[in-house]
Each structure stands twice: as structure tokens, then as C-alpha cells.
């Protein structure tokens, strides 16, 4: 589509966006080709001698060994898989839920809309992290459970964003024209409203990827990650519990840097996209103290552009 080409052309001209793409590409390659890139298989049982435990970087182990004598670099490479899967899948789910709720509430209005939005507000004001901790401790640990918990808590911003956009788009004359032609509600939503909101939804979904990755890392760091998979958060957890006293920086730093690396990459891309599709927005998330804080608290990034003026039908 023509406007997508335009977005892409503008996007390519933003240096920060390209840096972000490059950084994300590194992580993607790590995740996709983990078995080829990793020098060892982290799931393999290894027989260790005491000197292997937390051995510093050296021959054959570029980033040294962890508390179980395993290669840190290999775990780091495999850990990219969990982060990216959780990031992309949760963000896709929350995009889906948020878009559906936002479209329904915005287009149909009335009581259903009010109820939906009250519920959204309710979810928005509850602090996410404690709630996630509670749900996971009750429900149990597992990759899919983490993905679902994050998706269920992180769709609210998208829903608000979509709803406010729909409220103004549905008053536009081409929607009225479609109605005058006899178009069904379904057709109006899918053909005339959704395409206008889609760029914003995508930009928001990209930003959600990084929030989800941070959320997963936080859960794993707090010991609630999937016990069968290596993730960066879990590596941090082990490093904090067992390696800090031994000053094994090679075990602590790499997963931390990896988490920052991927989140930063995605935020750079997401910001560029958002600036393109929503030009009224000039503040840069990273340099906005509120978002720095929310980033640290693993909350979804709040976008500064509060919706266009709401039009009540």
C-alpha cells in the first residue's frame, strides 16, 4: 500500500531506527541460530571439577562459566530465544485483545463500551508487577503462562489508544459515506476504520515488545520464570544469588546487557515508527523521566500523546 511505502521511506531516513534494527537483528540471529552459534549445548549434562565453577573467561569459554560450570556465552545465546518469543508473542496477543476491545468500545459506544472502558481503567491502575507475581505464584511457572499473564495485563494501553482514535474516525465523512452506501458495521470497521488506526497499533505493539521482554526478565529474575528454559532474567537471578559474593562479573553483566540491548533496540524502532505515524508526538520516550521510571518498573511504556480530542456521537 502506498502509505506503507511512505512509512518505510521515512523510517529508513531515521538513523536511530536503523541502529535499532541492527541491534534487533543481532538478537534475532542469536535466537534463530542458537544451536549453530553457541559453543556448547546448555542442556547437556556436564561433569565439572571444582575449579570449573564460576571459572573466569578464558580459552574455550569466552564469557567464562556459571555456578554450575556451564558456558555463560551459550546460555546467553539460548536465552535470546525466551526473551524474543515472550516479547513478540505477548505483544501480539495484547495487540489483539487491545485492538478488539478498543474497536468495539469506540465503534459501538453505549453501555458495553462504558463497562469495557471501566474494566480497562481498573486494569490500568492496578500495579502490574505485584499482580503478575500473584497470578504466577498461584497458577505455576511456565513459558505460556508467562506469555498469557503479560498479554492479559498489557493490552489496556492499546485499547485506550484504539478507542480514542475510533471515536474520532467514525465521525469522519468517508465513514458516513460508507454507511450511506449500505456498508455493514463489520465492513466499516474492517475496511474503513482499522486501516486508519493500524499504523498506530503497530507502533504501540512494537513498544509493547520491549515492555513484555522486561516483564519476563523481571519475573524470571524474581524466580518465577519457566524452570525448564534458560532466560536472561533467570541468569541474572542465579548470578545475583550465587555469583555476586565471588565477584563473577562475567556471569552477571552479559544477561543484564542483553536485556538492555534488546529493549533499547525495540524502543528505538518503536519510537521512530510512532513519530512517523503520530507526528504530533515529539517527546522521546527514552529521555522522558516518566518512561525511564516505568521502564525500570517493567510497566508498559506510556505514550505522551493522549488521544485526539474525543468526539461524542
Amino acid at each position: 500500500m502506498e502509505s506503507q511505502n511512505r512509512i518505510w521511506t521515512t523510517f529508513r531516513k531515521k538513523p536511530m531506527a536503523l541502529v535499532g534494527m541492527g541491534m534487533l537483528a543481532v538478537a534475532l540471529i542469536m535466537a534463530l541460530f542458537a544451536p549453530l552459534l553457541a559453543p556448547y549445548d546448555p542442556n547437556e549434562r556436564v561433569d565439572v571439577v571444582p575449579s570449573d565453577i564460576l571459572a573466569p573467561p578464558g580459552e574455550g569459554h569466552l564469557l567464562g562459566r556459571d555456578d554450575a560450570g556451564k558456558d555463560v556465552l551459550s546460555s546467553l545465546i539460548y536465552g535470546a530465544r525466551v526473551s524474543l518469543i515472550v516479547g513478540f508473542v505477548s505483544s501480539f496477543f495484547s495487540m489483539f485483545i487491545g485492538t478488539t476491545v478498543g474497536l468495539t468500545a469506540g465503534y459501538y459506544g453505549g453501555r458495553v463500551s462504558n463497562a469495557l472502558m471501566r474494566f480497562t481503567d481498573f486494569l490500568m491502575v492496578i500495579p502490574d508487577l505485584p499482580l503478575m507475581l500473584v497470578i504466577i505464584s498461584v497458577w505455576g511457572r511456565g513459558l505460556w503462562k508467562i506469555i498469557l499473564v503479560i498479554s492479559i495485563l498489557y493490552w489496556t494501553y492499546t485499547a485506550r489508544l484504539v478507542r480514542s482514535q475510533v471515536l474520532s474516525i467514525k465521525e469522519r465523512q468517508f465513514v458516513l459515506r460508507a454507511r450511506a452506501l449500505g456498508a455493514s458495521n463489520y465492513r466499516i470497521i474492517v475496511r474503513h476504520i482499522l486501516p486508519q488506526v493500524m499504523p498506530l497499533i503497530i507502533a504501540q505493539a512494537v513498544l509493547d515488545i520491549s515492555s513484555s521482554i522486561i516483564a519476563e526478565s523481571t519475573l524470571s529474575f524474581l524466580g518465577l520464570g519457566d524452570p525448564t528454559l534458560i532466560s536472561w532474567g533467570m541468569m541474572l537471578n542465579f548470578a545475583f544469588e550465587r555469583a555476586i559474593s565471588r565477584k563473577a562479573w562475567w556471569f552477571l553483566l552479559p544477561p543484564g546487557i542483553a536485556i538492555v540491548w534488546v529493549s533499547l533496540a525495540i524502543i528505538l524502532i518503536g519510537n521512530a515508527l510512532e513519530e512517523i505515524v503520530n507526528p504530533r508526538l515529539k517527546t522521546h520516550h527514552l529521555f522522558n523521566p516518566r518512561n525511564m521510571i516505568s521502564l525500570m518498573l517493567a510497566k508498559p511504556l506510556l505514550v505522551e500523546s493522549e488521544s485526539p480530542p474525543e468526539v461524542t456521537p
Partner: protein, 347 residues
């Protein structure tokens, strides 16, 4: 021309609630409404072009929206081909009066049958096309919605004919483009083409040229006129510009603050306006054929707020010849000739 009324508007009222300020709600001041249309009646004959003339805010668009069933009248009713439009537009017609069996159709089919027969061209060609659809998608969409069972080549022929009838020839040259690659005049042609692919019987053209350059206005109006000839289509043309209305319409209804104040054959109304409001409009309009030189009448004051319609004759605060009586009595229509009437006590 045969005079079968295809459209009959009977005492139409349309009010919109005014959103009250918080302070007014606390003070419990009474709820207010905008009287957008305030008692309008007229009929339109098959194949006729009627001009609905009035200043901004006089209620022209609202009349058009109600005619198409896109809004529900507060009071009164509109009959299109003998059926109540607001029932028709929601698929609630009961057994057909004309024996056309419309009432037996499912709701969705009823709605589609109305939409197919009556179409609207909206005021702003920059707003009424979806910026993310190509011209082809825009013009073929009505055919898809109505699922007329056309084969691909028939669809293409219909779209091509609609575009070329509207002066966008050759059609292939335009249909892969997006609206923002076209000029305002071309867009309005696309809008008209999109309304015409369904071959409707009634077209409400809501100020189709007010947003366009003067130089292309005549082209679009000529287009509407030729459509009437070619397709025997009935047109309600709304405008705030007497000159363009004089150009091609058969009859003219002059609206002021939600009410028709004068209605008659276009030529007669322009030549012999009887209502002081029409007289004022005519005196300042560049009418094509000003036989007599008239004195220009410049109206005093502003159009009153449609929330508070003046008592008596709604035009009295600005009327150059108003008397005390005009403040008290809402004037009835006075028949001037067989088809010409005006609502003024001073006639």
C-alpha cells in the same frame, strides 16, 4: 415532466441535544436543543432537480441526512416511493403499501434496497473519500456491498462507465490512484461516480461544489445536469449560493433557521422573490440574468442561534419590513401562484 412525487417530506423536525456545561448541570438550567430542522414540508417529483438554498447552519445537511434515513427525525416523516424512510433505513418496513413486497424482505435486504435507490454526495470531497483506498476500490465498493451478482468484467464495465460519465476518462488512468493524488474537482467526480454505480433514483447532492474552485464548479454542475438527462435521476441539490442554484434546478426551496420560507419554480423565485429573506439573497447574488436592476438589500445582524428561535416569524429580527405583528404570529404559507408559496405576513 410527469409530476409523481417520489419524495414527500411531511412536517419534519430534527433537534439535537446541546451538551450542557458542568456548571449548567449543577444549576439545573433546563436542557437545551438545537432546532436544526424546524417544520419542513415539501415534495420532489420524479426526475426533478430541487435546490435547497440557505445560509450555513440553516439545516440543509440535516434535511439531506434525514431524507436518506441516516438520521431519525425528531418529529414528522419522510416518504420515499411511498415508504417511511426511517423505518426503511432500519429495515423495519411492514407489508409494502405499493404491493412491492418490500416489507417481506429481511432487515438487511430492506436497508440495502433503500441504499441502492437513494444516494448522497457529501459536502467535502477532501473528507468523503477514504485516504487508504484506491479510486477503483472506492467506486467498486458499492457494487461489492450490494453484491449484485456481477461478473468481474461487468463490474469493471460499471466502474468504467461511472467514472467516464463523471468526466474521469480514460478510467484506467485514474483507478489505481489514491485520493490525495487527485484535485478537489476530480475527487468530487469520484464521489459522484461512487454514488452513481448503483444507478440510484434519488441523489442528495449536499453542497457538492462549495469546497471547490470557482473555475470547476460549473463543470460539476453541468455533470449533475447531464446525469438527470441521461439517467432520469431525481436530485436534491443543497447550496448556500443562489447563483449556482439558478444554473440548473427546476424548483427552489429557500431555508432560513430550519424552515422553508419560500418555495417555487427556480426562475420565478429568482425573478420575483416574495419573501423578504429571499429578496435580500437575490439582491446580492450574481444571478445569471438580472433583467431588472435591484437595490441591494443588506441584512442587519447575524443569523440567530438555532437554540433560541425567535418568536413569531423567525426572520423578524432581521427583516427590513417587520411589524409588531411579525413578532407574535408565525406566518403561514401564502400561495402566490400554483406552485409558488412563501411564509410571510406582509404578502
Amino acid at each position: 415532466m410527469e409530476k409523481i412525487p417520489i419524495l414527500r417530506i411531511e412536517d419534519l423536525y430534527k433537534q439535537f441535544p446541546v451538551t450542557r456545561k458542568f456548571i449548567d448541570r449543577i444549576k439545573r438550567s433546563p436542557k437545551q436543543v438545537v432546532h436544526a430542522v424546524d417544520g419542513v414540508s415539501f415534495t420532489v417529483a420524479q426526475g426533478e432537480i430541487l435546490a435547497l438554498v440557505g445560509e450555513s447552519g440553516s439545516g440543509k445537511t440535516t434535511v439531506g441526512m434525514n431524507v436518506l434515513g441516516l438520521q431519525v427525525p425528531t418529529k414528522g416523516r419522510i416518504l420515499f416511493d411511498g415508504h417511511d424512510v426511517s423505518d426503511w433505513a432500519t429495515g423495519r418496513l411492514r407489508s409494502g403499501k405499493n404491493g412491492d413486497g418490500l416489507g417481506r424482505l429481511s432487515r438487511r435486504k430492506q436497508i440495502l434496497s433503500l441504499r441502492r435507490r437513494a444516494q448522497m454526495v457529501f459536502q467535502d470531497p477532501y473528507e468523503s473519500l477514504n485516504p487508504r483506498q484506491t479510486i477503483w476500490e472506492i467506486v467498486v465498493e458499492p457494487l461489492e456491498i450490494h453484491n449484485l451478482g456481477l461478473r468481474a468484467n461487468e463490474k469493471e464495465a460499471r466502474v468504467r462507465a461511472a467514472l467516464e460519465d463523471c468526466g474521469l476518462a480514460p478510467a484506467d488512468h485514474f483507478w489505481s490512484r489514491y485520493p490525495d493524488e487527485l484535485s478537489g474537482g476530480q475527487r468530487q467526480r469520484v464521489v459522484v461516480a461512487g454514488a452513481l454505480v448503483l444507478e440510484p433514483e434519488l441523489l442528495v447532492a449536499d453542497e457538492p461544489v462549495s469546497m471547490l474552485d470557482v473555475s470547476i464548479r460549473a463543470d460539476i454542475l453541468t455533470l449533475l445536469q447531464s446525469l438527470r438527462k441521461a439517467r432520469d435521476i431525481t436530485i436534491i441539490y443543497t447550496t448556500h449560493d443562489l447563483a449556482t442554484a439558478g444554473y440548473f434546478t427546476d424548483r427552489m426551496a429557500v431555508m432560513y433557521l430550519g424552515r422553508v420560507v419560500e418555495l417555487g419554480p427556480t426562475v420565478e423565485v429568482l425573478k420575483e422573490p416574495r419573501h423578504p429573506y429571499t429578496q435580500a439573497l437575490v439582491s446580492v447574488a450574481p444571478v445569471p440574468n438580472p433583467r431588472k436592476r435591484r437595490q441591494r438589500v443588506i441584512l442587519q445582524g447575524e443569523v440567530p442561534n438555532p437554540i433560541d428561535i425567535p418568536s413569531g416569524c423567525r426572520f423578524h429580527p432581521r427583516c427590513p419590513i417587520a411589524t409588531d405583528e411579525c413578532k407574535k404570529t408565525d406566518p403561514p404559507y401564502v400561495e402566490i401562484s400554483a406552485e409558488h408559496e412563501a411564509a410571510c405576513l406582509k404578502i
